[in-house]
Each structure stands twice: as structure tokens, then as C-alpha cells.
């Protein structure tokens, strides 16, 4: 059809003209049929033929039908059996011709209007469909983009968490190597002096002076080792390079975003209950983030083996006594064994297979250096809650 529109148009035109011819012929037949029953049949069928031709065929077939009908009517009007129209038949002839033309033209005009309307409707329908398809396409594209974005975000947060972990681990590794060297030197001196002391005491006669010097050195080196340990502790508590205004709720939100991936992977529902209009506190944002991350990761880890109840981690914040902001991290994990309660904040104490036992110890030191407190308690039902407080920054509130 689309391949040869010219041919199609011609076939259609011939068919439509044929239709007009057939309709006029049918009208003629019907008129004859009617005339055999009643004396005068009139021109009703010719009108119908003109209207139908104009309606179904268009203007040209309508006009052809009108012309044919007029010729036929002229043929049958007196003088009958001739195309001549005499004076007395003229008014009827003219009346028929004009009314047939008008009716045919009106029909074809009406038909055309309707066709145009239909076409416009079809067009509209098509446009709507097209637009719908377009919208569906961009919708699915948008969904794909959102999924991609979500994936990228997840990867980003995962990478960030991994980076934080690696940074922490490598910093810890370097620190551990440095501490072990610093402690090992005096220890080596202590052991060697002790052996030397024994040697000097077992000579014949025993050399008390040398033995005394060795014991003196042992005491000195023992003190030196403990100094090193004291310095390490001081490093965590006093190294506070930055003190800025910190909104605890912002901190919780930032850390929640960081930790989302880990929570999701461990099927832990992360919930927050943040106090309204909390005053700001003063602190080292990075250190406080580290504390939050430590506590939350500990909570998530404590729920690793929990299968008989929901793994729920609730972080809440509230104002206490108008001068402290209290943050709690509550998990539904395995909880703290009674015998461990006192030791969980000791350096190197851990119940985890791969833990270093530094997380809680460092967190404790950080919170204390901020003038706050950090403690843990067992929940009545399951799991443990770690609490810490930070003093309110009165300068910003007054």
C-alpha cells in the first residue's frame, strides 16, 4: 500500500466512481420496482444514491451520482424516454437537480469533516501512544540511572569504609612496630642486666659492686619501659589537633551513611532516635567519628552470630542535665560477659578472633580527652549498650 500510493489512489478513485454508478443503477432499479406498485415513485432513491455516493465516495463520485441521477430523471420526465425536459416538467427537474446537488455536497462536506475529525482523533491517539512510549522509555532509563547511581554510591561508601579501616590498620601497624621497638630495647637491657647480675654473683668471690650496678640498670630500664607506655597513652589522649563545634546529630548522620553498607551486608537494621534541638558540643570531628564508627562496628559484629532475633542497632542522642549530650549505641547482639565488663576498655583486650583490642580502649581515651564519659551496660533482654557523653559548648548556647 505504502509502496505505490499513486496506483492506490487511482484504483480507489475508479472504485469510488464505480460505486456511484452502481448506486444510481440500484436507485433506478428500485424506482422501477416501486413504480410497478404505485403510479408515481418520485426521486427518493436518487437522493439516497447521491447522498451515499458523496458520503462513501467523496465529492467527485457524489457529483457523478448527481449528474447521472439528473440525466436519469430527465430521461423519465415528460416527454418520457428522452433527455428532453419540457416546460411543465422544468420546475420539478430544476428542483431535483438543485436539491440533489445541495444534498450531495452537504453529505460529502459532512463526511469530509467527520473523516478529518477521525483523522485528528487517530493522530491524537498516535501522539499519545508515542508520548507514553517515550515517557516509559525515559522512565526505565531513569530507573537504570538511579540503580547505577545507587551502585556507585554503595561502592563509594564501601571504598571509603575500607580506606578508613586500612588507614586505621596501617596507622596501628606502624604505631605497634614503633611501640614494640621502644619497649623492646629496655626489656632487652633488663634481661641482659639480670643475666649479668647472676654472672657477677656467681664469680668467686661474688662481685657485689657489679651486681648492684646491674640491678640499678634493671630498675632504670624498667622505668624507661613504663615511660614509653605512658607516652603511648598520652599520645591518644592529648593529641587533639582540632577543636571545632560539633553537632552530635550531624555526626551520627554522617557516620550512619558511612556504615550503611556494613549494616546492610550484615542484615542489621540501623535505626536512629535523635534528640530535637540538641546544643552543639566542642571536639575533634574526626576522632569523634572514629569513636562512633568503632562503637557501631562493634555492635554490628556482636550480632554476627545472632539468628533467632532481629539484628537491630539503635543509635540515639539526647540532652542530659542541660550540660551534656548523651549518645547511646544499643545492639541486640551477644552482650558482654559479666567477667569481661571491667576489662573491655583495657588496651589489647578482645573477644574477637581478629580484633586488636584497641577500638574501645582508644574510644575511651578519646571521649575522656573531650571531657566526657564512656561506659557500657548489658541490656535487660539481649545485647549491650555503649553510652558516651560530651559536654555542651556553653559559648555557643549563651
Amino acid at each position: 500500500m505504502e509502496s505505490n500510493p499513486g496506483l492506490h489512489r487511482w484504483v480507489s478513485a475508479i472504485l469510488r466512481c464505480g460505486l456511484a454508478l452502481a448506486l444510481v443503477a440500484a436507485a433506478l432499479g428500485l424506482t422501477f420496482l416501486l413504480q410497478s406498485v404505485v403510479s408515481t415513485a418520485g426521486y427518493l432513491f436518487f437522493y439516497i444514491a447521491a447522498i451515499a455516493s458523496a458520503w462513501f465516495g467523496g465529492r467527485l463520485p457524489g457529483f457523478i451520482a448527481v449528474v447521472l441521477s439528473v440525466m436519469t430523471v430527465a430521461y423519465f420526465l415528460p416527454p418520457a424516454n428522452s433527455f428532453q425536459v419540457n416546460r411543465e416538467s422544468l420546475p420539478i427537474f430544476v428542483e431535483f437537480s438543485v436539491s440533489a446537488l445541495v444534498v450531495g455536497w452537504f453529505s460529502s462536506w459532512r463526511r469530509q469533516a467527520e473523516t478529518e475529525l477521525q483523522y485528528a482523533r487517530d493522530e491524537l491517539q498516535l501522539r499519545v501512544e508515542e508520548r507514553t512510549a517515550e515517557l516509559q522509555h525515559s522512565n526505565s532509563q531513569l530507573l537504570a540511572e538511579m540503580a547505577e547511581r545507587k551502585r556507585a554510591e554503595d561502592a563509594y561508601y564501601e571504598a571509603q569504609a575500607e580506606l578508613a579501616r586500612v588507614t586505621r590498620m596501617s596507622a596501628m601497624g606502624a604505631l605497634a612496630a614503633s611501640i614494640s621497638h621502644e619497649v623492646n630495647q629496655p626489656l632487652a637491657a633488663v634481661v641482659t642486666n639480670a643475666d649479668a647480675c647472676m654472672m657477677w654473683l656467681s664469680t668467686e668471690p661474688p662481685n657485689i659492686e657489679e651486681a648492684r650496678a646491674a640491678v640499678d640498670a634493671i630498675a632504670q630500664q624498667g622505668t624507661r619501659a613504663s615511660e614509653v607506655v605512658r607516652h603511648v597513652r598520652a599520645m591518644f589522649t592529648k593529641a587533639t589537633p582540632e577543636r571545632t563545634k560539633v553537632q552530635v546529630n550531624d555526626l551520627i548522620r554522617e557516620v550512619s551513611v558511612l556504615i550503611e553498607g556494613a549494616a546492610l551486608r550484615n542484615q542489621v537494621a540501623l535505626q536512629t532516635e535523635l534528640g530535637v534541638d540538641l546544643p552543639a558540643t566542642i571536639g575533634d570531628r574526626v576522632q569523634l567519628q572514629q569513636v562512633m564508627v568503632n562503637l557501631i562496628l562493634n555492635g554490628i559484629e556482636a550480632m554476627r552470630d545472632v539468628t533467632d532475633r532481629p539484628r537491630r542497632l539503635l543509635i540515639s542522642s539526647l540532652l542530659e542535665n542541660s550540660d551534656e549530650v548523651l549518645v547511646t549505641v544499643r545492639d541486640s547482639g551477644v552482650g558482654i560477659a559479666p567477667q569481661d565488663e571491667k576489662r573491655i576498655f583495657d588496651a589489647f583486650f578482645t573477644t574477637k578472633a581478629q580484633g586488636m583490642g584497641m577500638g574501645l580502649s582508644i574510644s575511651h581515651s578519646i571521649i575522656e580527652s573531650h571531657g566526657g564519659r564512656l561506659w557500657a551496660s548489658s541490656n535487660a533482654d539481649h545485647g549491650a549498650t555503649v553510652h558516651f557523653t560530651l559536654p555542651v559548648d556553653h559559648k555557643s548556647t549563651s
Binding site: A177, S180, H181, N184, Q185, P186, L187, A188, A189, V190, V191, T192, N193, A194, D195, A196, M198, M199, W200, T203, N207, E210, A213, A214, A217, Q220, Q221, R224
Partner: protein, 209 residues
């Protein structure tokens, strides 16, 4: 204590470890000298006696392992006992392959170090005696006149007095006199002894092919 008594050198940058090791070694009656860096050790006058070196791996200027390499390159042969705060396997393997006597990780037991020191000194004593004998021999050889050195060389190569005389254009009697003086100056008890000495002085002079 005198100049030829064995001596232990200790190189460690940590004064407390250095002093403790010195105290321990002194308790068994050995001479000890301590240094805070490899530079100090190299700059010091080392007595001519059997010795060993107790060396920390981690040192401020040149590391213990580098010093071991440098000493070997400078043809200074002194047995080394390494002490280190944290030893990894490749490090200890490298040190032992390069001829270290022992590789001890701090803190070590005193007896371990003393045993290693005794072994190192015993090793060095053998090498040192060897070197001392060689030095003596060299000194005696240097006291020979050029003529006597020529005679010694030809005697060692197995020629008879008559043949040597023909070679050097001198009478058999003269050669006999030279030979007697050579024997006396070199402190040789017999001809066989003298030939052995000549071979030690110049291993390339071996003639029995």
C-alpha cells in the same frame, strides 16, 4: 689483661643495651669495647688480638648488615654476632649466609650471647694465629738479602746446590753458605720445613707438578 687477650666489640645505638651487654661480657673476664655507631667502630684503633663483633642490625648511620658487607669488602675478617629488636627470616638468612656466627633476637638470654661470643673468639683465634704466623714468616723473609731470596726460591724449586751455583754463577760452596744463612734467618729446622715456608709465602712457587 694484655694486648693479645681476646676482645669483644659491641656496636649498638642504645646505650642501655650497650652497657648491659658490656657488663655481661665483662663478667666472664673478656675485654669489651663499645661503640654507638658503625662509624665510631671503624674509626677506632682495634688491638691485634682474637676478636669478635656484637652488632645491632638497626643502627643510625650504616646498618649492621651493610657494615658486615663493607668489612668483608675491606678484607677485614672479624666474626659477627647480630642482635636485633625484630628479626625477619630474610634478614637473618642474609646475615648468616654472609658468615655471621649467630643471629639473636632481643631480648636474648645472656648465656646464648656468651656461648656465641666464645665460639666466635675460638674461630677468630684460629684465623688470628694463622695471620700471626704468616706475618712472622713475612717479616723473616723480608730480612733476607736479595741473593738469599734467590737462593731460597731455587732451593724450594728442588735444585741441588751445584745446580743453583750454575744458575746464579757462583760456586757450590758459596751457595751452601747462603743456604745455611737462609735456614737460620727463616728459623727452619730442616730442608722440608724451609720448602713448606717458601710455599706458604708464595703458593704459586709449588714445583712438584
Amino acid at each position: 689483661m694484655n694486648e693479645s687477650d681476646p676482645i669483644v666489640f659491641v656496636v649498638d645505638d642504645d646505650a642501655s643495651v650497650r652497657d648491659a651487654v658490656k657488663r655481661l661480657i665483662a663478667s666472664v673476664g673478656l675485654r669489651v669495647e663499645t661503640f654507638g655507631s658503625t662509624g665510631e667502630f671503624l674509626a677506632a684503633n682495634r688491638p691485634q688480638a682474637p676478636a669478635c663483633l656484637v652488632l645491632d642490625v638497626r643502627l643510625p648511620d650504616v646498618s649492621g648488615l651493610e657494615l658486615q658487607r663493607d668489612l668483608a669488602a675491606a678484607n677485614i675478617h672479624i666474626p659477627i654476632i647480630f642482635i636485633t629488636g625484630h628479626a625477619d627470616v630474610p634478614m637473618s638468612v642474609r646475615a648468616m649466609k654472609a658468615g655471621a656466627v649467630e643471629f639473636l633476637t632481643k631480648p636474648f638470654r645472656g648465656q646464648e650471647l656468651l656461648d656465641a661470643i666464645q665460639e666466635a673468639i675460638a674461630r677468630d683465634r684460629v684465623a688470628w694465629n694463622e695471620r700471626a704466623q704468616m706475618a712472622q714468616l713475612r717479616a723473616r723473609y723480608d730480612s733476607l738479602t736479595p741473593r738469599e731470596k734467590e737462593v731460597l726460591k731455587l732451593v724450594a724449586s728442588g735444585l741441588l746446590n751445584k745446580q743453583i751455583g750454575a744458575e746464579l754463577g757462583a760456586s757450590e760452596l758459596t751457595i751452601k753458605t747462603h743456604r745455611g744463612r737462609v735456614m737460620q734467618k727463616m728459623g727452619a729446622d730442616s730442608l722440608a720445613d724451609l720448602v713448606k715456608m717458601a710455599e706458604r709465602l708464595d703458593p704459586s712457587s709449588r714445583t712438584y707438578k
